[in-house]
């Protein structure tokens, strides 16, 4: 089966520095994969490179079509939603305005309305705060908003950058449970970058471990979870 996302030899960097030194990974339709690694390993850069937000080289294929070099806005229009680190919410706009922006590329008013209902369905707290300025929401609520906004696009692929960052464990569990639900119900493939390896491995079916811009381990998540030596040396638990 052809992969939804197929990345070969991805290099990327900022300014004069090089962060990624040529990595390969893939994700099939409806699958969930995690990219793990320590701070500075290049995880966030990987997601940014897939969306062409940083200077990068290599081949990135979405359902067989090359998207490396394509403008970020156009990659998004092909069904790739990216929830960046720091959530990227529009702080001065309301919750509902943020969600509507998620559906910016859609012309179908009914679909947009349905999308809003779905989002409020997954995250009732957002419905309560729909006219509030997004910047006044708590960290957890902003993460819910960010994910919902990404889903408004009806993406085939959802890129999530450190969804657990700065959030209380209970909220994180809630969010991860909903992500599992979204993946099952809407058949959205998820590429997840996480520092919290335990959570990520519980959700993902496949995992990749980055160290200073290179892929050192790749395999089924269940195996990596079982392997104590990997867990101790690379994942810290």
């Amino acid at each position: 089966m052809a992969a939804l996302l197929d990345v070969r030899g991805l290099k990327a960097g900022y300014g004069a520095g090089q962060v990624l030194h040529g990595i390969d990974f893939a994700l099939e339709d409806g699958g969930i994969a995690a990219i793990l690694g320590a701070n500075g390993a290049g995880k966030t850069t990987t997601l940014r490179a897939v969306c062409n937000m940083v200077r990068s080289a290599g081949e990135v294929r979405l359902s067989g079509e090359r998207i490396d070099g394509v403008a970020t806005e156009d990659i998004v229009r092909r069904g790739v939603a990216h929830v960046p680190d720091g959530r990227g919410t529009f702080a001065h706009l309301t919750v509902e305005e943020n969600l509507r922006l998620g559906a910016y590329t859609s012309r179908d008013k009914a679909a947009v309305a349905a999308g809003l209902d779905t989002a409020y369905g997954y995250f009732p707290r957002l419905a309560e705060r729909r006219r509030q300025q997004a910047g006044t929401l708590s960290g957890g609520e902003q993460q819910m908003l960010a994910i919902s906004r990404a889903l408004m696009l009806r993406p085939r692929l959802l890129l999530l950058d450190e969804p657990s960052f700065g959030l209380a464990p209970l909220i994180v569990e809630e969010i991860f449970a909903i992500m599992r639900k979204i993946n099952r119900e809407q058949k959205v493939a998820i590429l997840l970058v996480e520092q919290n390896a335990g959570l990520a491995l519980a959700l993902a079916s496949h995992a990749y471990l980055l160290e200073t811009g290179r892929l050192v381990i790749s395999g089924p998540a269940a195996e990596i979870r079982r392997d104590e030596s990997i867990r101790r040396s690379y994942l810290g638990y």
Partner: protein
């Protein structure tokens, strides 16, 4: 007392012009964190275009709206061709280019239309409404037009998808790209709208100060003062600032220091606001990045 109210009302009318131009300045500032020094000259040049259309035989309102369209298109072209390539340049480089634009528009107006002062028609009747002694028809018309423009812009930005996208692009370009917004075109649209609003200001003030290439330099100063007073990143604040400056300038000019020094009031306001409270009355705290 009559003199006082007369000054207040004509101050409001002048303030309407300043508020419109200030709004144009703020629109560009919000999207780009840049102050368009050339806004006044662009408005002046648009007014000359309107004049030429009227000379060619077009009825006033047809010329008015056609000029708005031309100004809109011109703003977009300028952003795409002149301003876009400067993204990421130093402040000095951008300021220099703005001054260059200012000079070009001023020179083009003088070259094409000559420096001879011209009259520009007002679409409003000559007689004061109901024969009152406080406010003339044109002044009332200017206030009305300014308010209509403001309401239209407000509705556009708050209640349309495109307006929402423009606000998003100004606030957070990176996140905007991630929802598929073409940020570059949003900037261009912002310039187009700002140019059109500036054209309105020019066409409203020309009947009062008469049309000549240097008509807008003082007005631009008042618009700067108004925008800074209200808050350079706050559209409603800028509008308030524009009206406030109009009234203040008239009152101070008439009763305190005399009409010849009115521009220094603007200068004092600008320097004062920048030194004492740079975010103005309603703007957000500006963080100087280290």
């Amino acid at each position: 007392m009559e003199a006082f109210w007369h000054q207040v009302f004509s101050g409001l009318a002048a303030g309407g012009v300043y508020a419109s131009l200030a709004l144009a300045l703020v629109m560009i500032y919000q999207a780009t964190h840049l102050v368009n020094f050339a806004q006044g000259e662009m408005a002046m040049f648009s007014t000359y275009i309107a004049w030429a259309l009227i000379q060619a035989g077009l009825p006033y309102w047809a010329a008015f709206f056609l000029t708005l369209g031309i100004a809109f298109a011109g703003g977009i072209v300028i952003e795409r061709v002149v301003i876009r390539p400067l993204a990421g340049s130093s402040v000095l480089a951008v300021v220099i280019v703005f001054i260059g634009l200012l000079v070009i528009f001023n020179a083009m107006a003088g070259w094409i239309f000559s420096y001879i002062v011209k009259t520009f028609p007002s679409p409003f009747p000559a007689a004061a409404p109901f024969g009152n002694k406080y406010i003339g028809s044109h002044e009332l018309g200017v206030i009305a037009v300014t308010l209509i423009v403001l309401v239209l812009l407000y509705l556009f930005f708050r209640h349309t998808k495109l307006g929402l996208a423009m606000r998003a692009a100004a606030e957070n370009p990176v996140s905007s790209r991630l929802v598929g917004i073409r940020v570059g075109w949003m900037l261009a649209l912002g310039w187009g709208l700002a140019a059109a609003v500036g054209a309105v200001a020019g066409m409203m003030v020309a009947p009062i100060v008469f049309l000549d290439p240097n008509m807008m330099s003082g007005i631009l100063l008042y618009a700067f003062a108004g925008a800074l007073l209200g808050g350079i990143d706050n559209p409603a604040g800028a509008v308030f600032g524009g009206f406030a400056v109009g009234v203040l300038e008239n009152l101070i000019g008439a009763f305190v220091i005399g009409n010849e020094l009115k521009l220094s009031v603007a200068l004092a306001l600008i320097v004062g606001v920048l030194v004492v409270r740079p975010q103005g009355l309603f703007g957000q705290r500006l963080v100087t990045r280290v």
